[in-house]
């Protein structure tokens, strides 16, 4: 291992900067070639096709996680509900399920805030989100105004609940 690769030792009460060029980075020829590829429309088109081709398998994976999150909800296992909802929000966008991703993100925000405040989540808030997630993900055309409207309404509900928590915290 090259000593050039080791970071400098910390100095008491000081910080030390290591400038680009003083640490290992891409060689200039590799960097130039990489930048050319990043700007090449043919490369972007190929990469876009890769994402489009994977949408169906992502959609199937989202449906798998919906089954898991429903089971976690029945068991009132809030940590698992968060974990599965987090997977759904991460995968749904690449499945072409934008509204599903937004709704799952709202549920994650809610559960994360409640966990940090050491408070028990309200069952109906979780149930509303899970029903909306399931309906949106199974819809023929998820990218509808209705899906967006439901996502927005639920986001407002989460904002209201989080404001209540913050009010209780600061009271």
């Amino acid at each position: 291992m090259s000593s050039k690769k080791r970071p400098p030792a910390p100095l008491p009460g000081k910080s030390v900067s290591v400038q680009p060029g003083a640490y290992p980075v891409f060689t200039s020829t590799a960097a130039m070639a990489l930048l050319r590829a990043l700007r090449d429309p043919a490369v972007a088109a190929e990469a876009t096709q890769v994402i489009a081709d994977s949408a169906d398998e992502f959609r199937a994976e989202v449906l798998n996680y919906i089954d898991r999150v429903d089971a976690a909800a029945r068991a009132e296992d809030f940590e698992s509900i968060y974990d599965h909802a987090h997977e759904i929000r991460g995968l749904a966008g690449n499945a072409g399920l934008a509204a599903t991703a937004r709704i799952a993100n709202g549920l994650c925000r809610y559960l994360d805030a409640l966990a940090r405040a050491a408070r028990r989540p309200e069952g109906h808030v979780i149930a509303l989100h899970l029903e909306a997630i399931a309906r949106a993900a199974h819809a023929e055309d998820e990218a509808t105004r209705l899906g967006d409207a439901v996502a927005s309404e639920l986001a407002q509900l989460v904002d209201k609940k989080l404001a209540e928590i913050n009010g209780l915290e600061s009271a």
Binding site: M1, K5, R6, P7, P8, A9, P10, P12, G13, K14, S15, V16, S17, V18, Q19, P20, Y23, P24, V25, F26, T27, T29, A30, A31, M32, A33, L34, L35, A37, L38, V43, A44, E46, A47, T48, V50, I51, S54, E57, F58, E61, D83, H86, E87, R89, G90, L91, A92, G93, N94, A101, N105, C108, R109, D112, R116
Partner: protein
């Protein structure tokens, strides 16, 4: 062979579908040599063996998540390259989680869903505008100051901040 085809990438992601997608996107870009791991622990072993030039990692994984993995890469004496660029690919939007990843030494963030534009922009940022690395008692990693805050009126602590320090006084 294009010069960058000698580059190596490592994709760390517990979801097999996302892992495959990221590797295919990297390959479409021309980086044909890539490795994969399902968690930070596996990833660190692969990092030591293959010494990738670029890492894309998820945040939430077991038994070692992307934050701890990044911390290991930056600070462990066993890390082969503490300067390797790390892109955190995450669906997390909660501020405290993003800040924890930044404070572990993440180079760039890529929010899910993964899009070509966003991925390519993050890689271009790393290539075109490599940031200084900062070492202090509590942190080693890319400079977390991405812009000059004209309203900042606190103390300037870095050795390279001498000029700012004079202005502050």
């Amino acid at each position: 062979m294009a010069a960058f085809e000698q580059l190596r990438a490592l994709v760390v992601e517990d979801n097999a579908h996302m892992r495959k997608l990221l590797r295919e996107l990297i390959a479409a870009l021309g980086i044909k040599e890539s490795y994969e791991a399902a968690n930070g622990k596996e990833a660190f072993a692969i990092l030591r063996e293959h010494q990738p030039d670029l890492v894309l990692t998820d945040l939430t994984m077991q038994p070692m998540d992307g934050i701890e993995f990044t911390r290991q890469v930056r600070l462990s004496p066993a890390s082969p390259n503490p300067y390797v660029p790390i892109i955190m690919v995450t669906g997390h939007t909660e501020r405290h989680r993003v800040e924890a990843a930044r404070d572990a030494g993440t180079t760039e963030f890529l929010a899910k869903p993964v899009t070509v534009n966003n991925l390519f922009l993050r890689i271009a940022e790393i290539v075109e505008r490599p940031r200084p690395y900062v070492r202090c008692a509590t942190y080693f990693g890319p400079d977390r100051r991405r812009h000059n805050d004209e309203k900042y009126n606190g103390p300037w602590r870095r050795e390279t901040d001498a000029q700012n320090d004079l202005e502050f006084r």
